[in-house]
């Protein structure tokens, strides 16, 4: 690396790099220990510049922030990041997410902002395998489900495999789960349960979508149910 790259640690610590150069420097940073140390120190320095112009916010902000936190689910602690594997996994998932976005967009569907959520995807290796299966099938279709409340859900499927992509799902009490159903005629077959992460989920459906008329999602007690018992929170036709 030329010395010029290291000089970017200054503007980087000040958030003064344009987006493309920021990405470029972050790739360098990942592998350059001296730059990592320097960025830590320069950020701590910049933080003092910020701290020096402190100003009391409006008094009512406190209650609003604390109340909002009360209703906001925290992230789960992250997976270990210093080994090589999660990096590769992240890259792979990132690629998968990008491809899925392209696939879904190609179908004229507004895709979830998957690329932004790659971090959350690390915990969802299983789902990514299902995504890969769907994509490998070639002929994918996509359907936005009708949902209750602010939730958003969309199913991407091929005849052999289906994936649910959902966001803004309400948090569930206790060990309750969301359960998916593939409906043939009037008979719902269980297609798997899940709990969302930060209101979001990417889940491979169990069972083959071929021959199913519709997909539905209900809230069920811990472990799921053999047949739907809870409220339907999302549903839509599959039309394979």
């Amino acid at each position: 690396m030329s010395a010029e790259v290291h000089a970017l640690a200054g503007p980087y610590a000040l958030n003064a790099l344009p987006e493309d150069e920021r990405a470029f420097f972050e790739r360098h940073l990942a592998a350059c220990e001296p730059c990592q140390r320097e960025v830590r120190e320069l950020r701590a320095t910049a933080a003092l510049l910020g701290d020096a112009i402190a100003e009391e916010p409006p008094a009512d902000l406190r209650d609003r922030v604390l109340a909002a936190a009360h209703g906001t689910r925290q992230q789960s602690p992250h997976l270990p990041r210093s080994t090589g594997r999660p990096g590769r996994l992240r890259t792979a998932l990132s690629a998968v997410a990008a491809v899925l976005v392209v696939a879904a967009t190609g179908l004229g569907v507004v895709a979830a902002r998957l690329q932004d959520r790659v971090e959350e995807l690390e915990a969802q290796v299983q789902a990514s395998r299902a995504v890969v299966r769907v994509l490998q099938a070639g002929e994918t279709r996509s359907e936005r489900l009708t949902t209750r409340g602010a939730a958003r859900a969309q199913v991407v499927w091929s005849p052999r495999s289906a994936v649910l992509v959902a966001s803004r799902l309400p948090e569930l009490p206790g060990g309750s789960v969301y359960q998916l159903w593939l409906i043939r005629g009037r008979r719902p077959a269980p297609a798997g349960t899940f709990r969302p992460e930060d209101g979001r989920a990417i889940v491979g459906l169990q069972g083959r979508p071929a021959g199913a008329d519709a997909v539905a999602m209900t809230v069920e007690p811990p472990g799921g149910s053999p047949a739907p018992t809870g409220d339907v929170v999302a549903e839509g036709p599959l039309g394979t």
Partner: protein, 205 residues
């Protein structure tokens, strides 16, 4: 290591004193650990400790009070939400929160300014004039004498580059244009300016 921002600071009444035992006020790092465990009291205490620092910085960069409040709320909620993934080996709690605050503030102003607007602003005002405005406003609000002194120890170009970028939310390319200085020089002045500040403020190695 965590750096100089955790050293005793008599000039900030809310700030904890480093090295306190269990009977002392908990440090920001300890409070953040409580937040990571989902403790609402720890979050409230961390709010009391850092909200003014976050708001002051965001307000300086974003300017509009309503938007500044919005961004401040976003930042503090993000602290709550992502605290379980905070990695203490990469810096102190205060640095983490302030870095996030600055990034969000900068994102807000950059997403709002259309390219046209930015060009207009850059063209309409002389760079030196804009820097004078930034510097004047910051000067008035700089509460910390040691930060004021540290900034005064920089060369003009170092100080202007650092202040326009940090307090003004400008990219180094914009700073170069505003100050009519070569890009490479501005990058370098930002870095050596920060390094000089680091040493003057005793930020740990």
């Amino acid at each position: 290591m965590t750096g100089g921002e955790n050293r005793p600071r008599a000039d900030h009444p809310l700030r904890s004193v480093a090295g306190g035992g269990p009977t002392e006020t908990p440090s920001e790092d300890e409070l953040l650990a409580g937040v990571a465990r989902g403790e609402p009291d720890a979050f409230a205490a961390l709010y009391d400790r850092l909200a003014a620092s976050v708001y002051g910085l965001v307000r300086r960069v974003v300017r509009d009070p309503a938007q500044s409040e919005e961004v401040t709320q976003e930042v503090l909620l993000e602290v709550w939400r992502t605290a379980p993934r905070f990695d203490a080996s990469r810096g102190s709690a205060v640095t983490w929160v302030m870095t996030m605050a600055h990034r969000r503030a900068v994102d807000r102003v950059r997403s709002e300014q259309s390219a046209r607007d930015r060009t207009e602003r850059a063209g309409a005002r002389e760079g030196a004039a804009e820097h004078d405005v930034v510097a004047e406003e910051v000067e008035v609000r700089l509460e910390h004498e040691h930060v004021r002194r540290a900034l005064a120890s920089l060369t003009d170009l170092q100080r202007e580059a650092v202040e326009l970028a940090y307090y003004g939310g400008r990219t180094y390319r914009e700073v170069a244009e505003l100050l009519d200085a070569p890009l490479g020089t501005v990058k370098t002045r930002m870095r050596d300016g920060l390094i000089r500040l680091r040493d003057a403020l005793g930020v740990g190695r």
